[in-house]
């Protein structure tokens, strides 16, 4: 449940940031109800706020959502659901529900963990998005509340646990360099996509050497 509560509170930040980015309250709610993937939602709103193109906004959001496809492939055999329940399970397949589900030993606990976490996060995320969106309209200048800095911190917190491995650290360093180099010269949204393209190249091209150990000198 602590997972669901933390995510719900995070929803306030999203709702507020979204409306101050110029996304209406109904549009913000559609994002939380239908898109329902925190990182993708923050990314889409971030590109809109920066004046990026619709294509860049959709592409960034969608690329961030690709990991949910991999999560789905992991949890689907564990859940064993059909019909409309499968659609519901797909919509609830996110970082939190997947992490809780695969962390259980018993099949029954896996299923319960997935549904309780998924539904809990969904309900709280949407309730707090609405609260944040309504508050955002009343906040005035979001910068005086530090909401712009909150978005950067949220992305850092999302990536933090993924930075343990050496290849991830290398890609992170490349992403910083590519983004900083491109921001002054290309439209908003494109530096983020360029960083993703670099990661795809590294992922496809870099084949682990036989016998290479994690943490060995690079």
């Amino acid at each position: 449940m602590s997972v669901a509560v933390a995510t719900g509170l995070y929803g306030i930040s999203f709702g507020a940031l979204s409306v101050v980015a110029g996304v209406s309250v109904p549009q913000t709610m559609v994002l939380s109800l239908l898109l329902f993937s925190g990182g993708s939602q923050f990314a889409l709103v971030g590109v809109v706020a920066a004046g990026g193109s619709p294509v860049a906004a959709v592409a960034t959001s969608t690329l961030l959502g690709v990991r949910n496809t991999l999560y789905g492939a992991v949890v689907a055999p564990l859940l064993g659901v059909r019909g409309w329940r499968r659609l519901a399970a797909a919509q609830l397949t996110i970082d939190e529900s997947t992490a809780v589900a695969v962390g259980q030993r018993e099949r029954a606990a896996t299923r319960a963990g997935f549904w309780v976490t998924g539904i809990g996060v969904f309900v709280l995320w949407n309730a707090f998005t609405l609260l944040g969106a309504l508050a955002g309209d009343a906040l005035g200048d979001p910068r005086s509340w530090g909401l712009d800095a909150a978005a950067g911190a949220a992305f850092l917190a999302l990536v933090w646990p993924r930075l343990a491995a050496r290849p991830a650290q290398v890609v992170a360093a490349l992403a910083v360099a590519v983004t900083a180099a491109l921001v002054p010269f290309v439209p908003a949204g494109l530096p983020v996509l360029a960083a993703a393209a670099v990661a795809i190249v590294v992922g496809v091209v870099a084949t682990p050497r036989p016998g290479a150990r994690p943490g060995a000198a690079a």
């Binding site: 990314a43 969608t62 992991v74 800095a149 911190a153 949220a154 992305f155 490349l174 921001v183 795809i200």
Partner: protein, 106 residues
Amino acid sequence: MTAGVLWATVLVASVLSLGLKLAGHLVPEHWLATDRVQRTSTLVTVALLVSLVVVQTFADGQALVVDARVPALAVAALALALRAPFIVVVLLAAATAAGLRALGWG
């Protein structure tokens, strides 16, 4: 963006998001279980999030600037290193930036 374009952006992104999730539940697991697919997906997620950190912290339109967001991010990194929960990290960063701006900087 106009309201119409923004609606299209929101709806297309939402449909694609649900489509990606559903695809994971429908395709055979072994299609996605290869090392290369897993590794590339992980790296793409890292690159996107790190790039978004840089944009959210240093970009002001197309200019790179240093303002109250930078010390706020440093505070967030410190909090993460100390294993603070997600919401604490986000709130500390917001409070840092808000505090510095209240003092007239950044």
